[in-house]
Symmetry: C2
Subunit: 298 residues, 2 copies
């Protein structure tokens, strides 16, 4: 792997893995992993190899595994577990693997061109549902298997962002209805889902106001008021802890006026067990246009 010799303190590990300090310490106590060395001051120093393992563990937890089953397993054991795991292979189209090959070959420019070709061949809705969505999943799975690295995922995200932003710029509708405010809650730093939603909604004639990621709850309320938004749309990835999603949606729903609809989408909300009252959960992008039609009729 990388940085075999490097040592990281607990703050750096928290930032690099997204696992909180408290959690890192309590895992060590309960499961015996991670097992950092100590400096002269009895402070934890995590070897780079363990940080890599923690990143993998984080992703496994994100897809639903339980800590007691995965924290503490060695890398070979983790990989064995991955191969055993039920593969819900939705039969990826061969074209998708070509994109993955471009990522692995670090051909950022070629990747963007190929994505653009697919966009204009398929049209935006199909491009999002048949190419980008499954490709996101495929890339995530390839990362789990160790086939692609974090920086390669970053490269991929960047190219998709570039393509989607260009598309949105050309279909934006400043006078559309309803008015939709797009953002994420603090803690959710991924914007790809938002861009996909903005593209879909804009194409359906809605007027989108993008606020970017991590808007404080109180500010979302003010923004909805200022823009007279009919809908506040939030996006959640798997990296967002389910509890934070739940309480965030509760707080926001309570603070938002009744007549403003609250929509939540992304892989993070698919996990939510009990739906919140007054929050519309959107599992797929197609649900977005449906919900939009419904709202326009009602």
């Amino acid at each position: 792997m990388s940085q075999e010799n490097s040592l990281f303190n607990i703050g750096v590990v928290e930032r690099e893995t997204g696992i909180g300090k408290d959690t890192l310490r309590v895992w060590e106590r309960r499961y015996g992993f991670p097992a950092p060395v100590r400096d002269q001051n009895e402070e934890r120093l995590y070897p780079g190899e363990q940080v890599d393992r923690l990143r993998l563990i984080k992703r496994l937890l994100d897809i639903g595994m339980r800590p007691v089953k995965v924290v503490g397993l060695s890398l070979p054991e983790l990989n064995a577990l991955l191969n055993e795991a039920p593969k819900n292979d939705p039969g990826y189209s061969p074209e998708l693997f070509e994109f993955v090959e471009l990522i692995k070959a670090h051909q950022g420019g070629a990747l963007r061109i190929a994505l653009n070709l697919a966009l204009f061949r398929q049209g935006l809705p199909e491009f999002l549902s048949k190419t980008i969505s499954p490709l996101n999943q495929l890339v995530g799975e390839a990362w789990l298997r160790g086939e692609i690295r974090v920086f390669e995922e970053h490269l991929y995200s960047e190219q998709v962002t570039s393509v989607l932003r260009a598309a949105i710029a050309s279909i934006r509708n400043p006078a559309g209805t309803p008015r939709v405010l797009l953002t994420t809650l603090p803690g959710e730093e991924h914007s790809l889902g938002l861009l996909m939603a903005e593209a879909t909604l804009s194409l359906s004639g809605a007027q989108c106001t993008m606020l970017g990621v991590q808007t404080p709850i109180g500010e979302i309320v003010l923004a909805a008021q200022a823009h007279q938004a009919d809908i506040v749309a939030l996006s959640f990835t798997l990296s967002m802890p389910p509890l934070q999603i739940k309480s965030g949606l509760q707080q926001l729903r309570q603070a938002l006026p009744r007549q403003v609809a609250l929509w939540a989408g992304g892989s993070g909300v698919a996990r939510q067990r009990k739906p919140e009252d007054g929050v519309q959960y959107l599992g797929a992008l197609s649900d977005l246009t449906e919900a939009l039609d419904l709202l326009r009729q009602g």
Copy 2:
């Protein structure tokens, strides 16, 4: 203000303000602020008003004030302090205030159009140095004075991002030299600085690979290798703690091959006291083109 009645637990406050849990607790012990109420379980609950104050305090610390001077002051006292503070007013051009007015009026579309006009009137380098850079500062100061809100800043960032990304898309040079890898370290989540750098470098004929924000240090090293980068360029805002910047640059410099240059820019690095060995600090965007020319000659 907003959310007068809402109560937030310490985890939410950490995420919403960017101030760590440990820091929040130790401030309470030392300065008597924040002064959260407790729930039935003796856990801290911060009133929304105090969260707003904490956000302001965070920004004041970011611009160089000391905790003992600002943590614990009431809102009126903080505002008084702001008015006393030496105004290093660089004589903002009147045009800039028109942009601010558009932000205050929540005219996102008009703002983007106005920015685009300025871009094509001034040309990219002048647009960045004479419009975007001072406007960023102006917006930040207006926030400090309570004239604009967080969500309005988000709106502004989004429009600038949109304009810059469109510009970059049209001047990108896939065969340029040198090769530059652009990203931020974990903890730095702002990408505007990166986009400004990418625009500047692309215009100067460099080949830019954007990795987005928050790439782990080990992954930056691998990415530099994969792309045969000549330069790794990082961006830091004021919200990034100086200590994290310092140690991050040290670690990265150590892990990166000698022949790969490491450039660091943004308002966050202007604060750094002692420069790191082997790291080029770029205070302004103009330094970027200079450094590029120098590197091409040498």
